[in-house]
């Protein structure tokens, strides 16, 4: 039975994270240092040490997830703890800093950390929602099956077009060759359909196969009854191609969204580790 990473072992790590945050907040409220709360008080150093160790441990997830032979907990458990303790880190570090921020290396590390956590929360949301949307959109097929269906429609379109004059064959062949699925990340995330088609010797934009269908509708109104039936058949095939293209483009978008946030989360985590080292080094350099 599938169990969400958030619900892992009855939300065990949610309670760990809440306990850790609650304990930190309680200590912060009870602690009465002889100076404004900052990273240099007894509690400040304590929370800072805990926070730094947590950051290193959270980053270690990137190593642990590749260690397929590892038996230190399950990977699902690690990810569950990674998510909950990652959010708890925000509380601990803000208390560590005594909510002091400025234009300096220390706040730079904080900014990196907040961005890493924010991207992680976004990624968790994506992981919770998108796989389901992905399979709903595919309707039980795999992406390559969808693409094969697309190819089948293209093949059938060509065959139908063979019964019609040359300009129809040109329309179908160029439309097949110039069908474009998001080739860049940006196009995928935006579901841009950059398909083109050649009509009357001109190559024109053909998003959703509309240009081709418009042209066919126009031809159909002028054609004799026999040809009109064939043209209508071709139109029906293009309509179903449009539907399939939408499905594939949505599939590409969801897939891109599922993967792209890690291109933010992982590099920022690396930046955070460097900023953390610089932060600690600076603190003791100018003790």
């Amino acid at each position: 039975m599938h169990e969400s990473i958030l619900a892992f072992r009855k939300r065990r790590y949610l309670w760990v994270a809440l306990a850790l945050s609650g304990l930190s907040i309680a200590l912060y409220l009870l602690h009465d240092p002889q100076e404004p709360p900052n990273g240099g008080t007894l509690l400040g150093y304590t929370l800072g040490t805990v926070g730094a160790l947590m950051i290193v441990w959270l980053a270690w997830f990137g190593v642990r997830k590749r260690r397929y032979a590892s038996t230190t907990g399950t990977l699902q458990g690690w990810l569950s703890a990674h998510v909950y303790l990652g959010v708890a880190l925000l509380v601990i570090v803000l208390l560590h800093a005594g909510f002091q921020v400025g234009w300096n290396i220390h706040t730079l590390a904080l900014v990196f950390m907040v961005l890493v956590i924010a991207s992680g929360v976004y990624g968790t949301f994506i992981y919770m929602k998108y796989p389901e949307r992905l399979s709903e959109n595919r309707g039980g097929a795999s992406r390559s099956e969808l693409l094969d269906q697309l190819a089948d429609i293209d093949r059938r379109s060509r065959r139908v077009a063979e019964k019609l004059p040359d300009e129809y064959r040109e329309l179908v062949t160029s439309g097949v060759q110039r069908t474009a699925l998001g080739s860049t990340l940006w196009q995928r995330l935006r579901k841009e359909d950059n398909s083109r088609v050649q009509i009357d010797g001109q190559i024109v934009a053909n998003p959703g196969q509309e240009a081709a269908m418009d042209w066919l509708a126009e031809q159909q109104s002028r054609a004799d009854a026999n040809a009109a039936t064939t043209i209508a058949e071709l139109s029906a095939l293009l309509r179903s191609k449009r539907q399939l293209l939408r499905q594939v483009n949505e599939d590409l978008r969801l897939q891109a969204a599922i993967e792209i946030w890690l291109y933010v989360h992982v590099p920022l985590s690396a930046g955070l580790l460097m900023a953390l080292v610089a932060h600690i080094l600076t603190v003791f350099l100018y003790w």
Binding site: Q34, L108, V283
Partner: protein
């Protein structure tokens, strides 16, 4: 209803094999899902692609797929079937064949040759995700290098204030961005040597006054780079840690909290001390405020009650109400009050005129012998001058000089008049109103006791009048002057008056709304002056 499905396969040699299957069911489902009656192993077919069924007395094929199925070369979603019709689903070919006996409807099923052609879309089947050729690893290392370079190395070389933990206090603005002015040795805590570059040890005599502190560094208490800036440790524990439980032999009362554990105030007062030769010396004494309510000894006579009468007092400008701040003016900065001066604050009413015929002429204030001298000169001039009212009117030839006898006579007469006026001034009309005047005998028989004002009643506190000038306070909130009839009244408020507003050393206002008040709100930790302190 019984359907017959005839499976046809062609072997490599071109031979045809076939086998029949009978299906007893109202409909024949066709699709890629394994629960379909006619199970198609073709990725172009949908899970439930189409179905055969009997409708309106004929057999139909219907399809839920948008593109439908191809029947006799035409895409259709619902087609009535006749023997000989050809149905295509992906690469599969279904033909309607003659119906044998005992069967309602029959089809044959054959896999087409071109099941694998035209995978036009295969190039899209494994799309690469990424940002223009940047892998996560490459992005990560780039960011690490950028943070190291721009976050640490460059600031270290050219912009060290990027490495600061917080703003430098404005008191240290002269130090500016020079981190090494205080952070003398890297990886070592800030030593005192940086502090004493600017701050003289003479004012910060911590080592002598609080020997218990031992080798505590300045920066243990004086912390920079915080927000809110708090260079001076305001914490109650700074003092209370020791003063709540003083070691034996320390002659001080315990104090750990202003509201709950603080002795009554002591006040520094200038008081006369008799010397062995009978003279008086004025010395500052540190006495209990409660026992010194009428102990002010300033040698002045003053009645606050009369001056501050609510129905006014007669002045040269008529009857009017006098305000406190007409005489008590804050010093620049507003901490204490400037001294009250006769010339500025008293003389407009208390004129030192002495001759009713010449009311604008006054004697000087502050020097008794100068008063006498002024009077003698005044009356000498009147006796000798060209004034027609001059007293000595005996005719004298122009250029003729006074004889010595004449001069002695005039001088004696002037001095006699001056003494008479002076007696009036000193003993009855002017000086005696405010000053202690004693008659000593001799050539000049009066002695005015010098005014001995206490300059600072609490020399050891940071009290500031300006800080107490609020909407809810007035002078008489603390100083009960309107009821004071004698200058011996000490109008300094006691600790209870302070506690109306000031509370404990907690960080927040308490339930009574009193201000959090820690020791260093009033007291300095380091003794900065020893004047007026016993």
């Amino acid at each position: 209803m019984t359907y017959l499905i005839r499976f046809i396969t062609r072997n490599a040699a071109g031979g045809v094999e076939q086998h029949d299957r009978l299906v007893d069911s109202p409909i024949v489902t066709i699709g890629r899902a394994t629960d379909q009656v006619l199970h198609l192993k073709d990725r172009r077919a949908r899970l439930q692609h189409a179905q055969l069924e009997r409708k309106d007395g004929a057999y139909h094929i219907t399809s839920s797929a948008l593109a439908g199925v191809t029947v006799n070369g035409k895409s259709q979603r619902d087609a009535r079937l006749n023997v000989g019709d050809v149905i295509e689903v992906g690469a599969n070919i279904i033909r309607v064949i003659d119906t044998p006996a005992n069967v309602d409807f029959a089809i044959s099923f054959e896999l087409s040759d071109d099941a694998t052609d035209e995978h036009l879309a295969s190039e899209w089947s494994t799309p690469a995700i990424g940002i223009a050729g940047w892998s996560k690893r490459k992005l990560s290392w780039t960011l690490v290098a950028a943070v190291l370079l721009f976050g640490f190395l460059l600031p270290w070389l050219v912009m060290q204030n990027f490495l600061t933990a917080g703003p430098v206090h404005s008191a240290h603005s002269s130090v500016g961005d020079e981190c090494d002015a205080c952070h003398i040795n890297l990886f070592q805590r800030v030593p005192d040597s940086g502090c004493v570059e600017c701050h003289t040890v003479a004012r910060h005599t911590m080592q002598q006054e609080h020997v218990v502190l031992g080798d505590v560094r300045c920066a243990t208490c004086h912390l920079e780079h915080n927000e809110p800036a708090e260079l001076i440790n305001q914490h109650q524990a700074l003092c209370a840690d020791c003063h709540a439980d003083l070691p034996a032999g320390v002659d001080l009362q315990r104090a750990s909290d202003f509201l709950d554990d603080h002795p009554d105030f002591k006040v520094s007062l200038k008081r006369p001390v008799e010397l062995e030769d009978g003279g008086l010396d004025w010395q500052v004494e540190h006495v209990d405020l409660a026992g010194a309510r009428d102990a002010e000894r300033s040698n002045l006579k003053f009645d606050h009650k009369v001056h501050l009468a609510a129905d006014g007092i007669m002045t040269p400008d008529g009857n009017r109400v006098v305000e406190c701040n007409e005489c008590h003016v804050p010093e620049p900065g507003g901490a204490r009050m400037l001294p009250v001066s006769m010339d500025e604050h008293c003389a407009s009413c208390h004129t030192l005129a002495f001759d009713p015929d010449d009311p604008s002429r006054t004697v000087p204030h502050g020097d008794a012998e100068a008063v006498m001298q002024a009077l003698v000169e005044y009356y000498s001039a009147r006796l000798l001058g060209d004034d027609p009212d001059a007293v000595d009117r005996r005719v004298r030839r122009p250029g003729q000089r006074l004889t010595r006898a004449d001069r002695d006579r005039v001088a004696a007469e002037a001095r006699g008049q001056a003494l008479a006026v002076a007696e009036d001034l000193f003993e009855r009309r002017a000086c005696i109103n405010c000053h202690e005047v004693t008659k000593t005998g001799g050539e000049f028989p009066w002695h005015v006791q010098a005014v001995q004002l206490t300059e600072h009643f609490f020399p050891h506190t940071n009290f500031s009048h300006a800080a107490h000038d609020t909407e809810v306070t007035s002078c008489d909130s603390c100083h009960n002057a309107t009821a004071s009839e004698a200058a011996t009244d000490l109008l300094i408020p006691g600790i209870d008056a302070c506690r109306d507003c000031h509370g404990s050393g907690e960080r927040r206002r308490n339930s009574a709304g009193q201000l959090p008040s820690t020791c260093v709100m009033c007291h300095g930790f380091h003794f900065e002056t020893k004047d007026e302190y016993p």
